[in-house]
């Protein structure tokens, strides 16, 4: 296919409740290329692509598909024109089977016949397409029984079977492990070679450098530049994305002498079936960051729950030096002995979205009586402390302390969680994927806080599926597989060896 324009947007704007998500954005993607749309969280990448997919109506500017001016009335029309989008939050109906989900999406393709017959035909199509692109998917499985990576494959099959020639992937690698991401991006590169246009929305520099033919950079609702990724240096790309150069992320920590053991986990095993945790042993020392790497779904969430006090059926020991077994401690006791928890689901488990920023902050100290007895809340004291913490921990986007916590962006929500948890110097920090979905600057801020806690003598457990993060942060590295720690490494660790340990035991 010739290198003509598949999608062209010019001068597009979009406002949400007075917030300008897009200002005069331009974007062009050609047939046969993998086009990366790079930018930090909140730069407007998803908004721009939602306009192409017909989900949002633009407020100004124009959209061309295949060089024809188009006014999209809705997602149905976009699908008819061959545009398919895989959203960051999957649009799947969980209790439905794979085939039902895909049939649902084929509304605009007129197929006749009885329902059962159509479903069977769709199932055949799924098998054929899955085979062609190397996915293994059983059309009769219920979607809620699939892993995240498999659900993503269903999403991709869904848009391909609907006849998409322009494939938009919104942060596709955010939920995948390294191997899964590599496989996915190689597959979509194949689509581009066959003539399709693939748009890759991402904030990961590596994805861009390795797989994109062209990259458009967005910052603060505007498209900054469009260029070939091999024509510029990484530093230049980062500079264009964040507006300033950040420190080198890949620096490995210096070798340090570990402190005394603080948390000792022995034989931690899930009581239910399947055994998510299987005789897990782990020792965490004072003054160190212990990085727990591994492919997602190998018991990390269950371990995090058990340690953080989120209900999880386990048996075994979780001994805190000088305090006793963690399992018997309620939330108040955990706080009193200095445990700080940063759960993976920051909106679900760490913050109460509809409550104000000040209230969310105060939750950490409400038990200690600092903010008054049970029948009276010292709101002034709460607000003064919250204001101080917001300033100190650089939580941005706070117009008022009374504003709902749910309105904070991912990075700032995480900073608020850390501000609360680190309000009293912690002795033990439990962090699960603390920088997931955060942009470069926010990630750096979160990591600096964890390092500072370590330097103050705290024991830090960092559970992360991002190997780069573990490599950059941890003093010791454990690899988790099938519910136990299968290998441990001290810095400087061999990345290859860790990768081997991660996959060999799966």
């Amino acid at each position: 296919m010739s290198k003509q324009n598949a999608i062209q947007l010019s001068g597009v704007s979009k406002t949400f409740d007075g917030f300008k998500a897009l200002t005069d954005a331009d974007f062009t993607a050609k047939w046969g290329e993998v086009h990366a749309l790079l930018g930090e969280n909140g730069a407007g990448k998803s908004s721009l692509m939602n306009i192409v997919a017909g989900l949002y109506g633009p407020e100004g500017g124009s959209l061309f598909i295949d060089d024809n001016p188009i006014k999209l009335k809705g997602p149905k029309e976009a699908a008819k024109l061959g545009i398919g989008m895989v959203h960051q939050h999957f649009k799947l109906v969980m209790p439905f089977t794979v085939a039902e989900n895909i049939l649902l999406n084929l509304g605009h393709i007129q197929t006749s016949g009885l329902y059962r017959e159509r479903l069977r035909r769709v199932s055949d199509d799924i098998r054929a397409m899955a085979k062609r692109i190397g996915f293994e998917i059983d059309p009769d499985t219920r979607v809620d029984q699939l892993s995240i990576a498999e659900q993503q494959r269903v999403e991709i099959l869904k848009v391909l079977l609907a006849g998409a020639k322009v494939l938009i992937l919104d942060e596709p690698t955010a939920v995948l492990t390294e191997e899964e991401a590599e496989r996915l991006l190689t597959t979509v590169q194949g689509f581009a070679r066959e003539g399709a246009a693939v748009i890759l929305v991402t904030h990961k520099m590596n994805d861009v450098l390795r797989y994109a033919d062209q990259v458009t950079i967005m910052r603060a609702g505007q498209t900054v530049k469009s260029l070939k990724p091999d024509s510029v240096s990484v530093d230049e790309l980062i500079r264009l994305t964040v507006g300033e150069s950040t420190s080198d992320q890949s620096a490995t920590p210096e070798k340090r002498a570990p402190g005394a053991p603080y948390l000792q986990v022995k034989g931690l095993t899930s009581t239910g079936a399947p055994r998510a945790l299987n005789h897990l042993d782990l020792t965490l020392n004072k003054g160190e960051i212990y990085g727990l790497a591994g492919v997602g779904g190998n018991g990390q969430s269950e371990l995090a729950n058990a340690l953080m006090g989120i209900p999880e059926p386990v048996e075994g020991q979780m001994e805190i030096a000088g305090e006793g077994d963690l399992a018997g401690f309620d939330a108040a006791r955990r706080r009193a002995i200095g445990i700080a928890s940063i759960p993976a689901d920051r909106y679900g488990a760490a913050l109460a979205g509809p409550l104000s920023i000040a209230d969310n902050f105060a939750l950490g100290d409400i038990h200690s009586g600092r903010y008054g007895p049970f029948w009276y809340l010292k709101t002034r004291a709460i607000e003064a402390d919250a204001a101080e913490a917001v300033r100190q921990f650089d939580v941005q986007g706070v117009r008022s302390l009374k504003q709902k916590a749910a309105l904070l962006s991912g990075g700032n929500a995480q900073k608020l969680v850390i501000a609360r948890e680190f309000n009293h110097p912690p002795k033990l920090v439990l962090a699960h994927s603390p920088s997931r979905g955060l942009d470069v600057k926010a990630t750096e801020a979160v990591r600096d806080r964890l390092r500072a806690a370590r330097d103050d003598g705290a024991a830090v457990l960092l559970i992360s599926e991002d190997l780069d993060e573990v490599m950059a942060m941890a003093d010791r590295i454990g690899v988790m597989s099938a519910g136990r720690i299968v290998a441990e490494f001290s810095q400087p660790a061999d990345r290859q060896a860790i990768g081997q340990a991660m996959v060999n035991h799966v």
Binding site: F16, A53, L55, Y56, K76, H87, M94, E100, L104, Y115
Partner: protein, 308 residues
């Protein structure tokens, strides 16, 4: 002996309104719209059914008009929950109170109160009607026999057709349905109106076919029992039909007990169905059955340009 025979014979008459109303609620709620207005829509079906029967003197036409009337009134509910996105619980309650007032007013103004209508004759399903004890169960009006047919058609439409698949998708994950190009509001509107028609038929059944007259507020809380029944049945039409039969058994027993000379306090007898509903609800809640059968988006309004 006589007691049991007439008890069994009366069961369908009491069970059918529950079954139809519950089915209507299930269809509406499968689309993600929480429908608490059944009591009100049943009253609309009842008063319009009697009014139409008095006016046109054709029971089939009267029932059809009752269904249409309930559908039309449900547009008000649709306007509140779909367009204005008012809280669905509040909207449902408002609909009930509005319909209670509206139907009493209409009945009085039009002079339809306490006017007898002819109803439909009973048809015996020979040879089932000759069976001992249960024979009278099979001597019923034609609408009773239509109920299983309506259920089969509804279940088939929900589970075995493309529109049914889309309706359930809209109720489970409207964002996904919208991205698939399905009109969420369109399907919800259709589900509300079809559900209302069935609920209206349930009300008309009580007035036109069972009691053969209209009395203000004559549904007496049966719409609320239907709401409870849907939760009890975990949104499964067949379980709802079984539940409706169970409640039919209980309601049919009450007049029999009175007739047999057993001395029971009158108000205790009237209270029984509601007490049993309460008991069933507590049992369901306590038995901790999985709640996954509840439509995922039940009660949540759909807004497309919401940022997540």
């Amino acid at each position: 002996m006589d007691l049991i025979t007439s008890w069994i014979g009366n069961i369908p008459e009491f069970a059918v309104p529950f079954a139809l109303a519950a089915l209507g609620l299930i269809i509406t709620e499968k689309s993600g719209v929480l429908a608490l207005g059944a009591e009100g829509l049943m009253l609309v079906g009842a008063v319009i059914g009697v009014g139409a029967a008095l006016t046109v003197d054709n029971t089939a036409v009267a029932l059809a008009i009752a269904m249409i009337a309930a559908s039309v009134v449900s547009l008000l509910f649709a306007l509140m929950v779909l367009v204005m996105r008012i809280n669905q619980v509040i909207s449902g309650l408002v609909l009930v109170f509005f319909c209670q007032g509206l139907t009493t007013l209409t009945g009085t103004l039009m002079g339809w109160t306490n006017q007898p209508v002819s109803g439909l004759g009973a048809i015996a399903l020979w040879p089932l009607s000759e069976l001992p004890y249960v024979g009278r169960f099979f001597i019923q009006n034609v609408v009773v026999y239509l109920v299983p047919v309506i259920f089969v058609v509804a279940v088939w439409a929900l589970n075995r057709t493309t529109p049914g698949l889309r309706l359930r998708a809209v109720g489970e994950n409207p964002q996904a349905a919208d991205a698939a190009g399905i009109s969420v509001l369109g399907y919800r509107l259709a589900a509300i109106m079809i559900g209302a028609a069935l609920i209206g038929l349930a009300g008309a059944f009580i007035a036109v076919l069972s009691n053969k007259l209209w009395i203000s507020n004559m549904t007496a809380g049966r719409g609320w029992i239907a709401v409870a029944l849907v939760i009890f049945a975990r949104w499964s039409p067949w379980k709802a039909l079984a539940g409706a039969l169970l409640f039919g058994c209980i309601e049919a027993l009450i007049p029999q007990l009175a007739a047999s000379g057993i001395k029971l306090p009158q108000y205790f007898v009237f209270m029984a169905p509601y007490a049993i509903t309460l008991g069933v609800m507590i049992w369901v809640a306590a038995s901790k059955r999985d709640s996954s059968s509840q439509p995922g988006a039940l009660g949540t309004p759909f807004i497309r340009e919401e940022r997540t």
